[in-house]
Every structure is written in C-alpha cells, then in structure tokens.
Symmetry: C2
DNA sequence: CCAAACTGACCGACCAGTCAGTTTCGGTGA
DNA sequence: TCACCGAAACTGACTGGTCGGTCAGTTTGG
C-alpha cells in the first residue's frame, strides 16, 4: 500500500516516520474501527513511540483525518490515471467503475476505512468525514458532466446521479466486505455496470464489450 | 416516535420502562453516535437509574441492538402498510420510495441511527449491524421479484438491484442529513425515482403522474 | 551546539458494568 | 379487608480498566 504524501518532500526521515505511522494507522483502523483502535497499538506497530505520534499529529482524530485524506487522494488519483486513453466520457465512467472495483478488491482495508469507518467515526469530525465520498462523487460527476457536454447524455441532475451511483457502488462493496464468500467483487461488475448505465439511459451496446474480460 | 415492541404485552409497567429506555436511547445514540453515547445519559433522560437499564438489557450493546431491531420493524411495517392499495409491483416500489423519503424527513434521528450509526458501530456487532439494511433491501427485492412475476420486468439479479437501490437512497438521505440546507428531501424524489426506475428499464410514463404531488 | 525528532512512564478523565440494599405490587390466607 | 410475603423492579454509589494525551528528559543530525 503506497500512500501519497502531498506537500512534503519525500525521503526525509521525518517523512518516513509520518508514513510509517499512517500506514500502521490504516491497518489498525481497518481492523478495529476508529474507536477500538488504540494509539498505543498504532505506534507500536509502526515501531515508534507514543510521543512521536503526538509530535507529528495533534490528536488521534488528526491521525484519522490525515489518513482519510491521503486515501482519498490516492484513490482518486489512481482511478483517474486509468482513464486517460478512454475515448469518451461514457467509456471513462465505465473504466472508472472497473478500476474502483479492482482497487477495493486488492485493498480491502482501504475499502473498509474509506467506506465504513468514515461513516461511523461520527459527525464529531465535521465535514472531513465525507471527504472521500465527496471526492469520489465529484469524480463521477465530472465525467457525467463531460458526457452531457459531449451530447452522449441528456442534461440532468448530475450531482444527484453521482451521489446515487456512489451510494450504490458503496453498498455493494460494503456487502462484499462483510461477506466475501458470496463470490468475488468482479462478478457483480456486468450487472452493476448495466444497472448504472441504464439508469441514465445509456444503451449498453454503445460500448465495445471486449473490455469486459480484461479484468474479469 | 412510536416504537413497536414485539412479543411483549403492552401497557405493563415493565413495558413502559423498556420503551422509555429505548426511546431515550434513540435520542442519545442519534445525537452522540454509539460510542460517545453514555449509558448514564440514556438512563437519566429516561428518568430511570442505571441499574434498571442493566435489569432490562445485559449491556449497552444489547440496548443498541434492540433499538435497531425495533426501528427496522417499525420502518418496514410502516412502509408496507402504505403499499396495500397499489395496483402493480412497480407502483408499490414507487410508493415505497415516496414513503421512505417521507418517514426519514419526519424522523431524522431514526434516519441517523439506522443509516449512519449502524454502519459505524463496528463489525464487533456481528451480523445484527446490517439488520435494517437487510430488511429494507429484502423489501425492495420482494417487490422487484413481484414485478418480474407480473412480467413488468425482465428477469434479472434482483438481489443486486435491491442492494444498489438501497445504497443509492441511503447515500442521498445521508447527504441530506449532513447538510439539510440544500433543500428538503422531497425535492429529490422525481429525479431519484426517474433514475431508479430507468435503471431497470421501466418507462416513467407507465405510471400515472397524479401521485407525485400528493406528498410533495 | 542547538533544534528537531524521539522516548516511554505517567496521569486523569471517562464510563461500562456491579451489587447490596430499597421499593413496588400481585397474590394469598385468615 | 388487611397483614404479610416473596419476587420483580428499581436505585445509585462505587470500581476497575482502558486509553488519549502530557512532559521531562534523551538522542540525532546538520
């Protein structure tokens, strides 16, 4: 799991410590959830001391917030990177869905923290709580807007649709997280894809189907 | 907020205490979230003592679980009651959506506990955590299956669709909970309805539109 | 040499859960 | 009608453990 560390020059010792702490935090928060995760465990797994954690972050909450922001950036950046050579906005939406499914399949802890823990950490955290969700919905929305601009889509409430799509995807992933035995996440891709695209009136046959088996 | 108390004869003193505790728990959990909610506060707001809470429930977690079950029953029962005189399964799905939006609009605390807190209370709770979600997805699924049986819908993965629909609705409600200033929840109904129905290939014009303004 | 980075023992607040004792109340027999 | 009993319901002071956060002191590195 490679974390992106914006605004900090890489390779310094300070940076390595910060990264070690966040990486450990990802695991502990992912396993225990925010409240049951103890700072003591985060630092011990990171091979640092408690004082160091409080040298780098003012509070446990700040560690969590920083982690969520890193994860959101990582996720959005990595998904967007895969969309570059898609010809149309609709293709990019399609590719984004596949990409997200792929990432979550490979990084369950990331999925758990960004989709489940963030919701439960409580509104005490203010707006940061919804950071990942907003980032992601914004990504979907951008490409929906592009599709409208391209004329592939009727003008519509892209904000609402992006939110709804994110909710749908999130719910499916959360179910899969909770009970992975019901088959790999990739299995749901064709049906989910069909559902989402059809919801905005896109004929599934507009898209070449040769892309599907690529990841499946 | 009327809670349903299955399996207990109403009107007894015991029942009144249990109800008072759960009602108070609903408020405190709704305001503070599971972890920040103190049993002391729940009992004090209920006008009872701590010992009483532990006489009726074995643990704080048990209070939460019981509450979630009551809420799920209340919600599903109340929604289903409104579907009786709808002519077709599609109409019932439509009515259910409106009904849910209505209930959540009027009972924000209920929405917060069932949609947000349940997710965040952590997997420590085992499967009960997903109780509301499952109950609700099952409701949607039943009517989707009915629609298939009626021939109004092509055979499809109704389980997946129900999950996705629930996720979409849930996400919209959670956004509204978090930032209610962006307009009442009812405002999203037409667009959301259109999106969901179109996602399964239902032509919006099949349904009489005179129902829309009824609750709007 | 100094500041940044780091250490880990310690503190204190918080809170779920306990328990010994008290009150309430339906039943029972005289 | 009433005295009495036992169980159910209830009380709230107390405890034990957990854990976020502190800080006085040590190490590192430029």
């Amino acid at each position: 799991m490679q974390l992106r560390l914006p605004g900090a020059r890489r390779g310094t010792k300070r940076d390595a410590t910060r990264r070690a702490l966040l990486e450990s935090a990802l695991n502990v928060f992912g396993e225990k959830g925010y409240h049951r995760a103890a700072v003591d465990e985060i630092v011990s797994r990171a091979g640092r001391s408690k004082g160091t954690a409080y040298f780098h972050f003012p509070s446990k909450e700040a560690i969590f917030r920083a982690l969520v922001r890193e994860l959101a950036s990582y996720l959005v950046e990595r998904v967007e990177r895969e969309l570059d050579d898609e010809p149309t906005a609709i293709h990019r939406l399609d590719a984004a869905l596949l990409s997200v499914i792929d990432i979550f399949t490979k990084h369950r802890t990331l999925a758990r923290v960004t989709l489940v823990e963030v919701a439960g950490a409580g509104r005490a955290f203010g707006d940061d709580l919804l950071f990942v969700r907003q980032q992601f919905a914004a990504l979907i929305r951008r490409h929906l807007d592009a599709a409208v601009a391209e004329g592939a889509l009727e003008p519509c409430d892209t904000d609402l649709i992006a939110t709804a799509w994110f909710g749908a995807i999130s719910e499916i992933v959360v179910h899969w997280l909770h009970d992975p035995d019901r088959g790999p996440l990739h299995m749901t891709y064709p049906a989910l894809r069909h559902l989402l695209l059809q919801s905005v009136g896109i004929d599934i046959n507009q898209l070449p189907s040769d892309r599907i088996p690529a990841h499946a």
